[in-house]
Amino acid sequence: MIQFQQVSKRYPGGFDALKNLSFEIQTGELLFLAGHSGAGKSTILKLIAGIERPTGGAVLVNGQNVGSMRRSSIPFIRRNIGLIFQDHKILFDRSVYDNVRLPLDILGFDGQEARRRVLAALDKVGLSGKEKLNPVTLSGGEQQRLCIARAVVHRPAILLADEPTANLDRDYANDILELFRSFHQVGVTLVISAHDESLMADYGRRILRLKNGQFTA
């Protein structure tokens, strides 16, 4: 489903975030990316979503080369991807409901169906009954869940999560990972980055360890 072919990424200024990486992610796989900050985890996620372009090699998503894709085609790739951001990127000028609804507006969903899906997504992440609140009133963990609800509301085939458990205590982090596992069980391909490997170990999935833009054993 996702293929990296000798991918390099050098940021303006000369920092090499990724050095000649090749790997493949199967459809329906749950993959962890591990490594310290600056190791290149976020860059991999950004390349998959077309947020950054590689400076070398090819990034294929469903057989399409995202790296060399026309700017106007990138939105259509992203609609198949759910993004969970480290900094949540929640909009505080609107309610919890309207935050989750945004992807559906972009896709042009109708009122009734959209409402049903938003409420279902909020229920799934455990935010039922909070849809009318302003996100400012939510706790950090709840904001993370809101971000997850927004990422899954349009039922994407791929879910990319950048440090979803950072800044959360262990129990809360486990809850979030359980949530991801339930998405995995219904066939979603997941790529999750984290610097804390102890959490991943419990799940016994494939882990790609990164250091300075390269894989370590």
């Binding site: 947020i51 939105p75 259509f76 992203r78 990127k89 909009l91 945004l102 972009i106 042009g108 109708d110």
Partner: protein
Amino acid sequence: MKNWFRQHWLAFKRTLGGMLRQPLTSLLNLLVIAVAAAFPLALWLVISSLSGVAGRMPVESQITVFLRSSATEGEIKALRELDGKDARIARHRFVSRDEALKEMQQSTGMGDLLAGLPDNPLPDAIIFTAKSNQAETLETLQKELAVKAGVDEAQLDSAWARRLERLLALGRAVFDAIAVLLALALVLITGNTIRMQILTRQDEIEVSKLIGASDAFIRRPFIHFAIAQGLGGGLLACGIVALALWRLNPAVRELATAYGQQFALTTPGLVSIALVCAATTLLCLFGAWLAVWQHLRKLL
């Protein structure tokens, strides 16, 4: 298709709602556009009103040739015979100095003054009427007549009408320049307003892009805002001009009456209102499009 309309309708409602939530800001924005549009509109209405007057004026194609007092019978005869020889002349009328004096005494009420003069100061004159009323033809004819033997002076009677015509042409040129400048101003004003809006909605734009919004989706609310601004500004401009003319016209009418003319400045009609609104809307759209394009092209 239905979905497309629905999306636009929803976005438009949101835009209007946003404008109503900040009534003062919206009104100021509208006023800026209205004032910029009102100026060329007013100028245009004045020019076209005056053009109407100029068009109603009979364009005289008469040339009055005043003869020297020393002109001989033969010279006068040669001049009068031009009517027939010269293809440009339609007819002529000879006005002797005695007739001219009589006409003047009757028409100007200066009879007493003229009667007091020791002798008649007026020259003999021949009034030629040309077939054409083209300015150039008339001018050449006038110049030719002026240098004929026995002629003191040849006057083109329609000169002042053509001066007005030229003044109006100048007015139109000024209008063109001002219209171009203010059109540019409208584009810049809307572009800047939209740029400010983009800055306040940067988070929303960024998140929408990341979630898979197309450029069109992001552009939509700004485009709607620009349409609302352009339409509103155009209508307001027409209102301002109509109000100004309504205040001005009594004075203009009085002035015209003093010159024996029936004249008033035309207020904007439906066609001009439609044209003004179309122009402001298109210019605002262009400004908004530029601003959004400028912002989006930096985002991947």
